[in-house]
């Protein structure tokens, strides 16, 4: 029931807004649907807490701690983003950067995007998961090009082609999985693609084929996670799309993709009993962290800057999953959570900052703290949080990850140390002058919608100081489920 | 603590106060003789002090109360030092209350006050003198401490009485480390007391002067105290030298009348010899440029550290 609501509401919203998405009340309707989705997800969560794992709709859907918390997170951020985009997109409309038609497209695609992500999270069928992931790409690609500027078109094109090609590899990987499973589970029938069944028999699956399958899946979904060197589309897409989309892309889509990678890793590791998958993940992770940290130094566009920071943090999480083990997995899950919250809030403030000073170029944004204290403090605190400064939650996960790395992968510790230092210098040296200093820009009439920002930051702060026990149990259960060495 | 100890303590201080000017006078006499001049009287320093105390004090408009306090503090510090150094006996009440490091600290305090007072009026000469004095100080102090540390390592204590007793006991024969530090000590002594070749006590208004530049603004009783303090300083340094290198005649253990009768003449003899020696050094050497002084003191410091190393190498 909850699940039905969870998936039906966005679809309905997409359909409805597809019709009246340009209307005066459209933003509110959008927010309302998101709210509904969020409530449904809460109900679902409650049910999982009460009854444990769920298998629904003829085993087509599977809810366990691992994905249920992602579902809740997705729905929540979806809601806050909808709230944020309400005034934001209005302003964009007033500035004439958008036409009502495109606003309609925006709204309906937004809901569709939420649907695809929720589907990808909840489905038990690896094939359906693939379909949903591809759908997520397709539904956002037109949002990235919403402004129709040359840059946005280019970004959209790269996003489409690179992710499309990547996802095609993932499909091949899925097929290989299917073949391998078919051997064990009886060639035909749907069961051979159901994760639960695969998980049950993962011990007997043919290792080599699974290794190949994993490579294809990793390349495929890893492209969407933005793992270096498959990341090239990410900064462009995040920087050129409208800010709410950047927020959800960076805050949610990456998580979902990483979720897919981890799901496949669980299967493969179960059959391989070798270091291969974890080594690959760790390699990708470190590479992403290092390269992103370096490229942070060269950024001039504020959203691009934080797009690279997303790559860096996804790298950290991937590395942690690669290390495996209860603590590292726990930390990685926590990191996914806090990163998506923090990063989306940063994009919100960055969007306002860009609106207020009429540009995304950082050396033209100055003195936010005098221009609008809330935006200024929001950006400052958000950046500090994402840089892993306590008492924010990002520090908590990085604390666990680094300490684990120091013990189990000492060779990686100095690399991480250097990379984090470089990243800190890269981001903070650019944020500080934007927040502080003199400004000549004039205040804009409309007040920024910063409720979402500070809600997110408050949650992140809370997670830094105190993790509620049931949440912790969730994470533990999920971490145990992911397992690893 | 026996009564005689207290008496000796007082005696020692009083002796220092009394003998300091005479020692300076004696030094000047020797110098004059060595330079074939007619020597001034031995009592000239006393007459000077007396004259100065009589005069009316003139103080610059800009001078703060620090300027007026300084002479007393400096003088007091020097008198205390005279009490601390075991020039006659080693078990004296004041002597136990401080060790060599504290002694050096005392000298440093005096120097700092003097320099501050010199800067107080704000004349070119005053600040110049202060700067140079501190420059001399920051090299001379460490050298002196190093000298003392050699002796302390030898007799494993920084308390002057302990050192003196230990050395006087003759258990240590000729120690090369000590020899090195003795050289260093003499250099430091010359520098610290504004003697040639570092400074020329006999001149005024010369661009190379240090001590005189600092006391330039002082007059009358303040100047008298400053001068007296300077003489005491010289006296104290010489006594430190005795305590470290020529501890003979100093009464060891609780002092008795006999010890006292031995100690006083011994001190007198040693002082006479030291004065002559200093006069000789001052005669044969020439005043050096101010910027050369650091090198001079660096040499002293080097000697002291060498002494330390030599002792550690041979001793350990």
């Amino acid at each position: 029931m909850e699940l039905l609501l969870l998936l039906a509401l966005p679809i309905a919203g997409a359909a409805l807004l597809g019709v009246i998405g340009a209307g005066r009340r459209a933003p509110e309707i959008n927010a309302a649907f998101s709210l509904g989705t969020f409530l449904a997800s809460c109900a679902l969560t409650a049910r999982v807490i009460r009854h444990g794992d769920l298998l629904l709709a003829g085993e087509q859907f599977f809810i366990d701690p691992f994905n249920v918390f992602l579902v809740t997170l997705t729905a929540f951020v979806g809601l806050t983003t909808a709230l944020f985009s309400r005034p934001y997109m209005r302003v964009e409309l007033d500035h004439g950067r958008l036409t009502p038609g495109r606003l309609r497209l925006y709204h309906s695609m937004y809901q569709l995007f939420m649907f695809t992500m929720l589907l990808a999270l909840t489905t038990n069928n690896m094939g359906l998961m693939w379909v949903a992931m591809e759908g997520a790409t397709l539904s956002t690609v037109l949002l990235v090009t919403l402004y129709r500027t040359p840059a946005s078109l280019e970004a959209g094109w790269k996003y489409f082609i690179l992710c499309g090609v990547g996802i095609a590899q993932a499909l091949f990987g899925t097929i290989l999985l299917y073949v391998a499973a078919g051997k064990v589970l009886g060639a035909q029938g749907v069961t051979a693609l159901l994760w639960t069944h695969l998980d049950a028999v993962k011990g007997q699956l043919e290792p080599t084929v699974l290794a190949l399958a994993f490579v294809f899946l990793l390349i495929g979904y890893g492209t969407k996670v933005g793992l270096v060197p498959l990341h090239s589309w990410l900064p462009d897409a995040h920087a050129e799309g409208p800010t709410p989309i950047s927020a959800v892309l960076s805050g949610l889509l990456l998580n979902v993709a990483l979720y897919a990678v981890v799901r496949s890793k669980v299967l493969v590791e179960g059959s391989l009993h070798s270091e291969l998958p974890s080594m690959m993940l760790m390699g990708f992770g470190l590479l992403s962290v290092v390269l992103a940290a370096l490229l942070l130094w060269r950024q001039r566009d504020i959203k691009r800057l934080f797009a690279y920071s997303s790559i860096e943090h996804m790298g950290i999480a991937t590395f942690a999953f690669g290390m495996g083990g209860p603590i590292a997995n726990f930390a990685a899950l926590l990191h996914m959570t806090v990163h998506s919250l923090t990063k989306s809030s940063i994009f919100f403030t960055a969007g306002h900052a860009a609106q207020k000073s009429g540009t995304q170029l950082m050396d033209r944004i100055r003195g936010l703290i005098t221009l609008s204290p809330t935006v200024g403090w929001g950006l400052m605190l958000g950046s500090l949080a994402i840089l892993g400064v306590p008492p924010f939650g990002v520090f908590t996960s990085e604390f666990l990850i680094l300490t684990t790395a120091m013990r189990t992968q000492p060779w990686a510790a100095p690399i991480l140390l250097a990379a984090l230092a470089v990243a800190f210098a890269g981001i903070f040296s650019k944020v500080q002058p934007m927040v502080f200093g003199e400004t000549n820009a004039r205040r804009l009439p409309h007040a920024p919608a910063l409720l979402p920002v500070f809600t997110h930051l408050a949650i992140v702060l809370l997670l830094g100081l105190y993790i509620p026990p049931y949440l912790a149990d969730w994470y533990r259960a999920a971490a145990h489920l992911i397992g690893g060495p | 603590m026996r009564a005689l100890d207290w008496i000796t303590q007082v005696l020692e201080v009083v002796a220092a106060l009394a003998a300091a000017p005479a020692f300076l006078g004696w030094l000047n006499q020797c110098r004059a003789w060595l330079q074939n001049r007619r020597a001034p009287s031995l009592w000239l320093p006393y007459r000077n002090l007396h004259k100065l105390f009589h005069k009316e004090a003139v103080i610059a408009d800009n001078a703060s109360s620090l300027f007026r306090i300084a002479p007393y503090v400096v003088f007091g510090a020097m008198v205390l030092a005279a009490g601390i150094i075991p020039s006659m006996g080693t078990r004296l009440p004041l002597v136990v209350s401080a060790d060599a490091i504290a002694l050096v600290g005392l000298f440093a305090a005096a120097r700092v006050f003097m320099s501050l007072a010199a800067m107080d009026v704000g004349t070119a000469f005053g600040t110049m003198g202060a700067r140079r004095e501190m420059m001399v100080g920051f090299l001379a102090e460490p050298a002196l401490l190093m000298v003392i540390f050699v002796a302390s390592l030898i007799s494993s204590s920084t308390a002057l009485p302990a050192i003196t007793e230990n050395l006087a006991s003759g258990r240590i024969g000729l120690s090369p480390g000590l020899a090195f530090s003795a050289v260093a000590f003499v250099l430091v002594l010359l520098a610290e007391n504004a003697r040639i070749p570092v400074d020329n006590p006999a001149t005024h208004l010369e661009l190379t002067m240090i001590h005189e530049a600092m006391v330039l603004e002082y007059s009358a009783r303040h100047l008298a105290l400053m001068e007296w303090a300077a003489q005491l300083k010289l006296f104290n340094y010489v006594c430190i030298g005795f305590a470290l290198f020529l501890p003979w005649g100093v009464a060891r253990g609780h002092i008795g009348p006999v010890g006292l009768l031995v100690a006083i003449p011994a001190l007198a003899v040693k002082l006479a010899a030291a004065g002559a020696g200093l006069a000789l050094i001052e005669t044969v050497s020439a005043k050096m440029r101010v910027m050369r002084i650091p090198e001079f003191l660096a040499t002293a410091f080097l000697f002291a550290v060498l002494g330390l190393l030599v002792h550690v190498l041979l001793g350990a």
Binding site: K158, L212, V215, F216, I219, L230, S232, M280, L295, R298, P390, T396, E398, L402, T403, M406, R407, A421, A425, F428, Y466, I467 | F53, A57, N62, A63, S64, L66, V73, V96, S97, A98, D99, I101, A102, G105, A109, V112, L116, M119, G122, A130, R132, M134, F138, P142, S156, S157, T158, P161, A162, L205, L225, P294, F301, V305, L309, V312, L313, A316
Partner: protein, 671 residues
């Protein structure tokens, strides 16, 4: 589960929370200066005093208390612990913060850049976080408090964020702090020794292989050194301390640096168990280097707060030298001597927090009275602001290490412990340590030089600017603050024996040995085991005073007291102007001349024909050019290389994917 029992520890926690509350109260009326200055800051000061008292009590009790708060990581609630070591530093925090907060109440003016209420919040958060650092008993809580401390102080430093230099200072500060924190994080990662418990107790219990232990020690040295301002990771300090408002500079220099020392002691002597002797060489050598480096640069500064900042670096050097000695001695089995060295270290921490806070607050008053930080434009202030001048004089003499004030005592103890070098079983070190002693002594003497320059140029002589005539003395709140700290300096100087008795608890905890007291007199300090060495500051004071008194009396009786005021003697050529006094540059000239090679000097000399000749000299640290600039350039270069990866062509991007696919497939096939 917390059980609220009225123990000292819960009291301390309550007081820290009180600080937070006071800070938040500032937000009630963020704009009102009176509310913050006259009400909140004094309130915070009282809390500080109470904290100091509690800490003192627990120090005398010498016991250990534990408390667990249900916050933090799920399986790692926040452990708190109050033992002699932490109570000593809490005492330090409380005592000096009392003076500083009172002063701050009178100090902050309108237009400091940020709102008074916000300042109040940041200030008290800073205090509370420092307290939390000292109380934390698990790695996570420690690091959180540690970084909150850095963060709040960063915001305080950048109070006047409109000035680019200050922004730069803040950036460097936070960057160094963060890097240091990551080092500590890794250090704790090693220390937990695979037990995955991050409580300090677990770390004490963990058995590390020698290699890991050494790694942990070096990481800790790096991390805490970066916070303490140990050369070569000190570069943030001379930038940040002058940038901050003076009370904040005082807190940072007087207290925050000490939290780093606390951490070093906690890790090096407590968590790591019994240290290996050669670990001590690292802090020893770095400390000596730091002493020399700091004091040299202090001698050539022309900005009074920068001068003090460098002097802080020097004093931190002394402290780390002490730590190094302690470890060397303890590692070699000479517990009592180690205790002596540790005693000197702790004593110096106490002293420095009082002296340096006093001096920074003094400069703060001067700054407000004159609006000048440049020594070249000050002078003669002793006439205009006697309170500040005389109280600062005490701090100056104390930090110059002159008896009978407190600075001398700790240096005396340190030298005494140095003199035991010949007991060490390691021949080479025997040779090294005397050299170290020479450096310490040289540093102390140079400190005297620096302080005479500092005091003489600011307060003595004739005012170098006409505007100084308007300078006014500080207000009553400020006076109380200064007075408190000055009294602290005097007390610590005159009653060393009592202080040492108190410190005994700490040495007992960390080394398991206390220093015996040889002498029977309450006024005589004779802590050196087996050596007849003693020092009685009270005797110094009384004797000197007696002599002065007698002299005055004698002169008054035998002669007269006539005094005439006259213009200063101008050698007869007339026209004595303030410009004829030494400037700060002039006073530093000998040092600059002697140690040229240390500095990076750029001069502007006037040409012979100049109508209005100007002389300018700028002195930078070579370390920027030698280490840090190359480092950032290297990163830049790497970034440029990395940028090649991202060069816009979709075909190339596709190729990356393709290549990765092929390679990984090959790998998968191989394995």
């Amino acid at each position: 589960m917390i059980t609220i029992s009225p123990t000292l520890l819960t009291g301390c926690v309550a007081l820290l929370c009180g600080w937070v509350v006071v800070g938040l109260a500032g937000l009630l009326r963020p704009g009102s200066l009176r509310f913050a200055g006259r009400t909140l800051f004094p309130l915070g000061a009282l809390l500080g005093l109470a904290l100091g008292l509690l800490a003192g009590a627990s120090l005398l009790g010498g016991g250990t208390e534990r408390l667990i708060l249900p916050v933090g990581l799920p399986d790692l609630p926040m452990h708190l612990r109050l033992d002699p070591l932490s109570s000593l530093f809490l005492l330090l925090l409380g005592a000096s913060s009392f003076g500083i907060s009172v002063f701050a109440g009178g100090y902050f003016r309108q237009g400091e850049g940020a709102l008074p209420g916000l300042l109040c919040l940041q200030y008290h958060l800073f205090l509370a976080s420092m307290g939390a650092v000292l109380l934390a008993d698990d790695a996570y809580g420690f690091l959180v408090a540690w970084e909150v401390m850095a963060l709040s102080s960063y915001f305080l430093v950048t109070t006047q964020h409109r000035i680019p230099e200050i922004r730069r200072a803040g950036f460097i500060y936070l960057l160094m702090a963060h890097v240091g924190a990551i080092c500590l994080l890794l250090c704790f990662g090693v220390l937990q020794g695979g037990s995955w418990l991050f409580t300090f107790d677990a770390m004490r219990a963990a058995h590390l292989s020698p290699g890991w232990a050494a790694a942990a020690f070096l990481l800790a040295l790096l991390g805490f050194g970066a916070k303490a301002g140990l050369v070569p990771v000190h570069v943030w300090l001379p930038e940040a301390h002058p940038a901050a408002p003076s009370p904040v500079s005082a807190l940072m220099s007087g207290v925050m640096l000490k939290t780093a020392v606390y951490g070093m002691l906690r890790v090096g002597l407590d968590l790591l168990g019994r240290p290996v002797w050669w670990w001590g060489l690292a802090p020893l050598i770095l400390g000596l280097l730091t002493i020399f480096y700091g004091v040299l640069f202090a001698a050539v500064q022309t900005d009074m707060k920068r001068l003090l900042a460098y002097s802080s670096i020097e004093n931190i050097g002394i402290v780390f030298t002490g730590i190094g000695l302690t470890i060397v001695f303890e590692g070699s089995g000479l517990e009592t001597v180690a205790a002596l060295a540790l005693l000197a270290t702790l004593y110096h921490c106490l002293n420095h927090s009082f002296m340096k806070s006093l001096l920074f607050l003094g400069t703060g008053s001067v700054l407000h009275a004159t609006g000048e930080r440049n020594l070249g434009r000050l002078g003669g202030l002793i006439h205009r602001m006697p309170w500040v001048a005389w109280l600062t004089l005490i701090g100056t003499l104390a930090i110059a290490g002159l008896p009978p004030l407190n600075g001398f005592v700790s240096e005396w103890l340190l030298l005494q412990s140095f003199l035991f070098a010949d007991h060490l079983p390691h021949a080479f070190v025997n040779l090294l340590i005397p050299m170290g002693m020479a450096l310490v002594v040289l540093g102390a003497a140079l400190a005297g030089y620096v302080m005479v320059k500092f005091y003489g140029v600011i307060f003595l002589g004739q005012p170098r600017e006409a505007s100084l005539a308007q300078a006014h003395d500080c207000g009553w709140l400020e006076r109380i603050g200064l007075l408190w700290l000055a009294l602290g300096c005097v007390a610590l100087g005159l009653f060393p024996l009592q202080v040492i008795r108190v410190l005994g608890a700490v040495t007992g905890q960390l080394i398991g040995a206390t220093v015996p007291q040889a002498s029977s007199h309450w006024w005589l300090l004779a802590p050196v085991p087996g050596r007849p060495v003693s020092y009685g500051p009270l005797v110094f004071l009384t004797a000197t005073l007696a002599v002065v008194f007698l002299t005055v009396l004698a002169v008054r009786l035998t002669y007269h007291q006539r005094v005439r005021r006259a213009p200063a003697w101008d050698c007869g050529f007339g026209g004595l102007t303030p410009r004829m006094q030494d400037t700060a540059e002039g006073f530093g000239q000998p040092i600059r001349h002697l140690f040229q090679s240390f500095f990076e000097i750029e001069r502007e000399l006037p040409a012979p024909a100049d109508r209005a000749p100007r002389y300018r000299i700028a002195i930078r640290e070579r370390i920027w050019r030698l280490v840090y600039e190359p480092l950032s350039n290297a990163v830049e270069r790497l970034a440029n290389i990395a940028a090649r990866v991202q060069q816009g062509r979709i075909s190339v991007y596709l190729f990356y994917g393709f290549a990765t696919l092929i390679v990984l497939l090959a790998v998968a096939l191989m394995s």
